[in-house]
Amino acid sequence: MITIKILVCLVALLLLALVIELIRREKLTFKYAIGWIFVLVLTIVLAIFEKLLVNVSQWFGFQVTSNFIFFTMLGVFVFLCLLMTVFLCQQDTRNRLMAQKIGMLEFELKELQKKINQHKKDS
């Protein structure tokens, strides 16, 4: 039992270190990293105080604690996936709007340049 505790803590700590390193290298912004940090800290806390985890899972009616963990993780990932799709759609829309704006601006810039050239020729 104690070895599992250590294993879980180790993996979580490793991931935590990785996340912090990614923030340090500016590959992750804090906004998106905060969720990861929260989950990892929670994992460590639950691994150390496992009684808490067992109690909660029994309160929900799970016979085996590991089932509770799997269920929770699946739920979290489904939600996360949905959230990511929403982000993706948002980015997609913004991307399209940006492309349209760029197209229009480029056109206006060219027209202005034409006008300037014409003006230079005239004077």
Binding site: R96, A99, Q100, I102, G103, M104, E106, F107
Partner: protein, 238 residues
Amino acid sequence: MVKKLLIIVPAFNESGNIKTTVQEILSSQSVVDIVVINDGSTDTTAQEAQETSAFVVSLPFNVGVGGAVQTGFQFAWKNNYDIAVQVDGDGQHDVSFFEPLLEPIRQNKADIVIGSRFLKPFLGYRSSFVRRVGIHFFAYLISFLTQCKVTDPTSGFRAYSRKAIKVFAADYPYDYPEPEAIMLAKRFGLSVMEVPVQMRKRAIGHSSIRYFTTLYYMTKVTCAILLNIIRKKKVIEL
């Protein structure tokens, strides 16, 4: 007051077609502004369009026909055009039908006028059998849902009033947009009307809708149309 007219021509890889299309429009309407929306074409569409007197707006990458047409609406809105006409860049639309398309808008009878291949008198090419079945299905679905008779919901040969331009500049569906746009228009309280037109077979190249995508197209558009019922009604002020 003379109403300012803009012809919107969305074009994606239409080299060989685009020049003829623009020249045809110019020969039918003496004084008219044309904007070609080059939707991230990888061929010489942009250069060919620039050789004509049309305005050319080039998008940095392909955003799909809906996004391209919407750019046209944004252009029309920004430059104060009163009427916009959408003509596909592949030369399928017969420009001699401009006048019947424009007439209802000029007389304020409708906000959107759709050129229909399926209104009598029948005037020529009306698509392949399979495609006709699909088009009729959408026609019945949209007619039933909007309580407004539509016979050719996939037609991209359309004229728009200033009000419709404003609506679509802000909000336009982006893949396979035509049938959905009718639902959207109804949601904004725009009036839709059809007039009979003639279309031709494509001169060069393929339609954007091919065999493998047919099923996806049918499902997507049906869902999109149905989803429009539960979306919020919106009001637009001009």
